[in-house]
Structures are given as C-alpha cells and as structure tokens.
C-alpha cells in the first residue's frame, strides 16, 4: 500500500491539466490567491461536516479550535470586499464523512470570483474553461425546473410533498420518502439518482435557478423569488461545479447561518460558530459578483476517463 493510487502517467496528465487551468486565468487577468486552510469558524450547511483541530499557541494560555475549510469561499469573499478584483484559487478543501468513488475527504478545489458578473455570465466562463481544458462541446443550459419537467415530468416549484413522495415511491424510494418531511431531500434524491445519470452525457450541462430553499450562498432571483441564482455543472453523470450570483446582503447572510444552526439543532448536529470576519466583510460591502467552485480531481477523472477518484490522486485516503 505504499505505492500511489494513481499511475505516474495519470499524475503527469494531472499536472498538465492544472497548468492549463492556471493558463486560462492568467490569460484572463484573474489574480491567483492563497487563503488559509484553517479557520476559526466554518460553514453552517447541515450537509457539510468539517474537520476540526486544536491550536496550542505558544503565547496564549488556552488552546483554540480551528476548522479545516470545506471551501475557500469566506476567505476569498473577504479579499473581494478588500478590493482584490477578480481572483482564483487552487487549494485543498476538506470534508468529513465523505469518501467513495467520487469523494475523497481531502480534495483539490478550483474556486474563482468575478466582480461585475452575474451567474449567467459566469456560466459562460465555466463553459469556456471546460472547452479549453477538457475540449468539450459548448455546454447546454437548462433551468432546474426545466430539467425536472423534461426528465421526470414534474414541476419542482409547485409539486407538493405528498405528490413528490408518490414519485419517489414509483422509483423504489418509498422507505426514504415515507417519513420525510423535507421536500428538498426528496428533490435531491430524485436529482442524484434519476436526473444526473440522464443529463449532460454528450456535452456538459449547466443547470441554473435551484429552488430558493437550496440557495446556499446565492442571491434570490428578483423576478422569481421561488428560485435562487445558483447553478451547477454536470458532465457524464458527474457533478463538477457549483456557482452563485453571490449573496451580498450581510443581514440575509446572518439569518441564513442562524437558520442552518436551528436546523442543525433539530437534527441533533453540532451548531457551528458563525464566521464573524466574513459577516463584517459583507457589511463593509461585497462588490456585485459571481463565484464558482469546481472539483479539480473530478475534472481530471473526466479528462482521463477514470472511474474512481483514487485513480487521479497520488495517494487516496486509504493510502494517506
């Protein structure tokens, strides 16, 4: 088990692909930045589990809890608030309780922010990046609502939870559906199991306007407040990227964090400290911008036709 989980040939291709990503942003005059892997606070998202550790400062009596970032989002937005302009970062992200064919608890993330862009403009740039580094055909674009209507014949915006449960039962998910009270869980189940394998096969697809209840850190759409200005990129059954027209309202951001923590409390999950530096930065003003995070290891899997993430990592978690 001392040997790498990827072949040396795969690692060479990995290096070349990362080089081409850097080139893409250098040509577009986007500044490369590095932000800390440690943070005093972390995400509140109920579906993200953080790693934490204790820092013993030689000049302080008490140890401090530090979290490993699940994405560099908060720190990069602080740079935007400080006037950085367009920035990108290639960094490690860490997510506890994730592992499998497409997951490694420590993985490489490409994240970038574009002041002056909305989510549609950034979707175009994601498309351009995929064409440049993966030589894909131009991506398709479909709203979340259209995708559900086309593939499953249901409207996710109007469907009631009881109807959604019957749809789930038809696909054999009755056991999950029966006691479920959260519509989003059922939509996510149908999306993962029934939609993702059927879309974006020949060319990538950008799915936009997720439900407002799944906004994460995206702005709510003004024309249709039922949806958020959030998009995702899928290709060959793999979720590649998640982007937002970024929420800049500090008050709204704070209440989303608090709502998450209330949900955590109900679910019996630990409540997370809210990132005060991030909220202060938002209060000082985040320029109107769009940002996106893309899983680099998965991009390399697609470039190499790999079937497991371990095939593109020097050492996967089992060999770490």
């Amino acid at each position: 088990m001392w040997q790498p989980s990827a072949t040396i040939k795969a690692l060479r291709e990995r290096a070349a692909l990362i080089q081409s990503i850097r080139q893409f942003f250098i040509e577009r005059d986007v500044l490369e930045v590095e932000t800390p892997a440690f943070s005093a606070a972390s995400v509140t998202d109920v579906h993200l589990h953080t790693f934490s550790t204790r820092f013993h400062h030689p000049l302080k009596p008490d140890a401090q809890t530090l979290y490993l970032q699940t994405s560099p989002e908060f720190a990069m937005k602080r740079l935007l608030c400080a006037g950085s302009g367009a920035i990108f970062q290639l960094s490690k992200a860490f997510r506890n309780e994730e592992g499998g064919r497409f997951h490694n608890p420590e993985f490489t993330m490409l994240e970038w922010y574009r002041p002056g862009f909305d989510h549609f403009a950034l979707m175009n740039e994601v498309d351009a990046l995929l064409q440049a580094v993966l030589s894909t055909e131009p991506a398709d674009r479909m709203s979340y609502q259209e995708v559900f209507k086309t593939v499953l014949g249901i409207d996710p915006l109007t469907v009631g939870i009881e109807d959604l449960k019957s749809v789930c039962a038809e696909f054999g998910y009755a056991d999950i559906a029966v006691g479920e009270t959260d519509k989003d869980t059922l939509l996510q189940l149908l999306f993962s199991e029934q939609i993702e394998p059927k879309i974006g096969q020949a060319r990538p697809v950008l799915v936009y306007h997720f439900l407002a209840s799944q906004a994460a850190l995206a702005k709510i759409d003004e024309q249709d407040p039922r949806v958020a200005r959030r998009f995702e990129a899928y290709y060959k059954g793999i979720e590649l990227a998640n982007g937002f027209h970024e929420l800049s309202d500090a008050q709204e951001q704070r209440s989303r964090f608090e709502r998450d923590n209330q949900k955590r409390h109900v679910m019996g999950l630990p409540e997370m400290p809210i990132d005060a530096y991030f909220l202060e930065a938002l209060e000082s003003g985040l320029p109107d911008c769009a940002g996106v995070a893309l899983g680099v290891d998965r991009l390399i899997m697609l470039a190499l036709g790999a079937s497991r993430i371990s095939e593109v990592l020097a050492f996967d978690i089992d060999r770490a």
């Binding site: 998202d45 994730e98 064919r101 869980t185 189940l189 799944q214 995702e232 998640n242 899983g295």
Partner: protein, 189 residues
C-alpha cells in the same frame, strides 16, 4: 438482531429487507456538493436470489439478518428433504426443496456443501465449485471427430445435463464446474 447503519454496510453483511434476508454486494456513496448524502447499495435477496439496487439516506439503519453459512456433507434425500451432516459434530440438518432448488442436480454423497441458515433454518444450498458425476446416458458420438463440434449432451447420474466432448462415453465419471454447469475434464482416477 443488531441494527446496522449505512456506514457499516459492506460486501457480505446480511440485512433484512422487505421481510427477506439479503446479502450486501456493494455500497456506493452518493452526495451532491450541497445536499443530502445517500448510499446506493447493491443487494442480493437470499431466498429469491434476486439482485437489486436500493438507495438509503446516509445514516439510516436497517435490521441485520441472522444468517450464517455452514459447510456440511451431503448425506441423502428421502424425496421430501435433503439431509446434510456436520462431519465434526455429526449434527444433521434437513433442507427442503425450496432451499435446495436447482442444486439437487449437483449433490454428490459426502461432498461438502455450503448451507445458508436464516434463524437456524436452511434457505440455500451451494454445491462445491467442482463435482464429479457419472454419465448415465450419452450418444456414442463419432470417432475421430474431436474438435469444433461443440460436443454432445450427456445426462449425469443426478439428472443434470451437460455438454461433453464427443470422446466421452456413458459410464465415465466427469468433473463439472457447478457455477457454469460446464464440463471440465474426465475425473482423475
């Protein structure tokens, strides 16, 4: 019986599903970046033999199934039951037709078979990978024609029918792979 959470699911774990004991074959983790995690699990139902995929919400748990495999020697059948014996304890177990199923055609006296017990009762019998059986009937075949014909059917002492090469004759004992039902060779004397 203990409950098992999705993170304990691994190949070989026996769980209850729809009132039937099942064997887990594969467990795949599925999770959208922002959203609920699921486990897509491949399962074999142990009584019907059906293989299916079942999705669980990560963290959900299911009841384990009291299923164990034991190696027992085949003794005889009385027409209704097939009798097996533990060669060390001499304890005997009788399996009914439902449990034995198609395996009857591979049962050779004294061969060790794997008996799957659910709550102590046999639900499946797996024969050894290779068995030796006598041919009771096959066409004499044509002398000299040894290749490229695909052989001929031969009926074995248990009633099983396998394709054998033309040179193999009635009364000979042959070795058969029970997993594929294919002829392997003449038995070593």
């Amino acid at each position: 019986m203990a409950n098992y959470s999705t993170n304990e699911f691994k190949a070989g774990l026996k769980i209850m599903l729809d009132g039937e004991p099942c064997n887990i074959l594969e467990n795949e983790y599925v999770k959208p970046g922002k959203g609920q995690a699921f486990n897509r699990v491949k399962i074999r139902k142990l009584i019907s033999g059906k293989v299916l995929e079942k999705t669980f919400k990560s963290g959900d748990s299911v009841e384990g199934a009291d299923v164990m495999d034991t190696d027992l020697a085949y003794l005889y059948t009385d027409g209704e039951f097939w009798h097996f014996m533990n060669n060390e304890t001499f304890e005997q177990i009788a399996a009914d037709e439902k449990a034995v199923g198609d395996t009857t055609k591979w049962l050779v006296e004294n061969d060790e078979c794997t008996i799957t017990l659910w709550n102590g009762s046999p639900i499946a019998v797996t024969p050894p990978n290779f068995v030796e059986l006598e041919i009771t009937e096959t066409d004499p075949g044509l002398k000299g024609d040894t290749a490229g014909t695909g052989g001929k059917p031969a009926t074995l002492s248990t009633g099983a029918v396998v394709r054998v090469p033309l040179f193999v004759q009635t009364g000979e004992v042959i070795k058969v792979d029970t997993r594929s039902g294919e002829y392997v060779s003449r038995a070593q004397k």
